[in-house]
Symmetry: C2
């Protein structure tokens, strides 16, 4: 679609670049064609007046499990392993294909409403999530979660292959597929080796949970005599582009290994705090040159898909932890949720900033509200004042997915009804 | 006003009481008259259908400086003392009476939109804040900030007396006045003693900053050979009901002193993290029986007045700090922002929960949104999923202040225009 966006204050997220005031952006088909001044002869099918708003790149949620929205507010205030073993896993065993479809649509709706234009997900029945992504008009990187500790390792590898065959570059190029070994503590070394081979064979990256809890690290030392990071490295995983979610309990050596191998770390502040896993060493990772991305994790350990909360947390928590009020300044926090997310997913040539030639994944924040007044700094406002509900308009791949707070692609009322029904059914099954 | 609220899921915040489903509440004049079933002969001037919403007590922001909204996003990513000395104080010297009026109205508008029905404030030109409170229809506890380190101690004491004379129990009983010595590091011991005498004489409480930064504690030991808490205690301050904001750097002895003297502590998680002051010992304070309340602090160190963010932070941060996912569960976090706030301000007989005979300070949260679906736990939803922007309707003292997201009492567009103009003027002055 050809779209002209007028009267926007633009936060392009390029370099250390500040905002462009009162500018225009033109979108041609799926791509950003002009920024600043648009030639008079540009023919727009749609003109959006962004007056009083900020135009910025869509946010990237680099680690989540959107279908877990069905378990939102279902089990809280419990430690990670107890939460997984006594609450989450027993319910997940009962999940059927259709549940994942409705849960994924619910998650997609919430992500769009929160200004997220691309998310990276690992779960099961992933074809259902792919269908939801196709219908919702959002962008996603999907991985079938691979686990062999329960004896179903082979069939899952098959499912991962099928997901790739059916959906890689699908939905008009909005879907990519990765290989998703769940974690070093749920996959044997042999199985991890198979996942690595699969990723190499398909030419795609790996998405994995790494060093989320202290318990996991202890177990790794007991079983393998080394940390989860060192273990994965020794298995050759990092020869493949790897997205390592969580990275909370890292030694200095672990950080060095991740940095030297250009492993992308995804920071999930809400989830890490809520499950009492602790504080990821963001400063240390950044100092070693790791581009830390941001994620919500699943909505059952969060309990929402609100990337503005994660940006806010990234900006304030590290100041407290490092006793340094200059740590993770506003611009760095917003970068985590945009540019760094794109880098983590190997898509920084395509998305993550507003640049000519990049995909038009754009959001408009409505700043005509008391909590944005007065307008001293747009960047500070995005990190410290904004709420997800301030997102007014969302464009993905050059298509308008939400306009004036209304989602255009999917029927939210129907989705909430079906998701509620799925959750009730699940409880009775 | 007589109001009937129908079809509400009620979170009364009484005891450990769970929600009441599909219930009614009747408000007669300024007071809650019926809960659950309302007699058929109750005559309502106004009926509110709360279907799909949660009715809960209005939130209480127990420590803020609302007029500092003019400095929102003006100076960020700086340490406390540098931020105060090089950025905040120089601008504050230029503030005129009218700035504080518009800043206070801007703050009141944001608070109402965020579901806050009562706030506790310390600043200067407080008659202007009182005027704003009267016009906005919100409830407030106001204190003239007292400082003698700049030689203006006497006139400030006079202003505090005048504020009491003019506004205590003013605005239809919505305003109370406290005495507000700024902090042990900006007030001499003699001046603190005068503030204590003034509070005793007027029969009101004290609102003061206590042990916000490590620097402040070090200085106290250098100057007085004891901690700020011990110093205030030895001066006799805690004979007066005292609201101690921040309480970040407390020794075990400090916690004991606060507990033994029933001092109310106000936790300001965003501000404490953003200014790199650290993590208040919430668990320790709670274990000793201190009812910890919550506050936003001023919007220039936050940078908003969003109590839902503070609830969220209170619930998740303490889990991370204490390595305990059961620390500050959802219900405890919501209590901090309601019941405990009322206790801190000495108003728990009047506000803080939904009980017959209490003042009708009520809010309705619109949960017909993807991030509240499915509806597993209302309490978890309030702590972990909600945003300030979900507040749909606000009642203060039995009057409808906001209905269907629209503030009824004040003109937001005009306020934002004037606040923006005041901020620009300030920068040029």
């Amino acid at each position: 679609m050809n779209i002209l966006i007028k009267n926007a204050d633009i936060l392009p997220l390029t370099g250390e670049g500040g905002p462009l005031e009162n500018a225009e952006v033109a979108v041609e088909n799926s791509v950003i064609r002009y920024i600043g001044r648009v030639p008079k002869d540009f023919t727009a099918e749609k003109v959006i007046d962004a007056k009083g708003g900020i135009l910025m790149p869509g946010l990237i949620d680099a680690h989540t499990h959107v279908a877990m929205s069905l378990l939102r507010n279902y089990a809280d205030d419990l430690p990670l392993m107890e939460w997984l073993r006594t609450r989450v896993w027993p319910v997940e065993e009962k999940l059927v294909r259709e549940d994942v479809y409705w849960g994924s649509l619910l998650g997609a709706a919430e992500l769009i409403k929160s200004g997220v234009t691309c998310f990276s997900d690992m779960y099961f029945f992933m074809e259902e999530t792919a269908r939801a992504v196709e219908e919702a008009g959002i962008r996603a990187v999907l991985a079938r979660g691979l686990v062999d500790s329960d004896g179903s390792g082979d069939s899952r590898i098959e499912e991962a292959k099928n997901l790739y065959e059916s959906w890689h570059n699908g939905a008009g190029g909005r879907i990519r597929v990765m290989v998703g070994p769940h974690a070093p503590y749920t996959c044997s070394p042999e199985y991890l080796a198979r996942a690595i081979e699969l990723a190499k064979g398909l030419g795609v990256g790996i998405h994995i949970h790494v060093s989320e809890s202290a318990y996991e690290v202890e177990e790794s030392f007991k079983k393998y005599g080394k940390s989860p990071v060192r273990h994965l490295h020794d298995l050759g995983m990092f020869d493949v582009p790897t997205v390592a979610a969580h990275c909370v309990h890292l030694s200095d050596e672990d950080v060095d290994i991740l940095a030297e191998n250009s492993v992308a770390a995804v920071y999930n502040p809400t989830s890490n705090l809520k499950l009492a896993n602790g504080f990821a060493p963001v400063k240390k990772m950044q100092e070693k040159g790791i581009h830390v991305a941001l994620g919500t994790d699943g909505p059952s350990s969060n309990n929402n898909l609100n990337m503005f909360e994660e940006i806010h947390l990234a900006a304030i928590i590290n100041k407290g932890v490092n006793h340094d009020a200059t740590s993770v300044p506003a611009f760095a926090a917003v970068k985590m949720a945009t540019v760094n997310g794109a880098k983590a997913l190997g898509m920084d040539k395509e998305i993550g900033s507003i640049e000519i030639g990049k995909k038009a994944d754009l959001i408009i924040i409505d700043t005509n509200k008391p909590h944005f007044c007065p307008k001293h700094s747009i960047v500070s406002a995005m990190a410290y004042s904004a709420q997800a509900a301030d997102v007014k308009t969302v464009i993905v791949n050059g298509e308008i997915v939400m306009e004036d707070y209304e989602i255009k692609t999917i029927d939210i009322e129907r989705i909430m009804f079906e998701a509620e029904r799925a959750a009730r059914g699940l409880a009775k099954r």
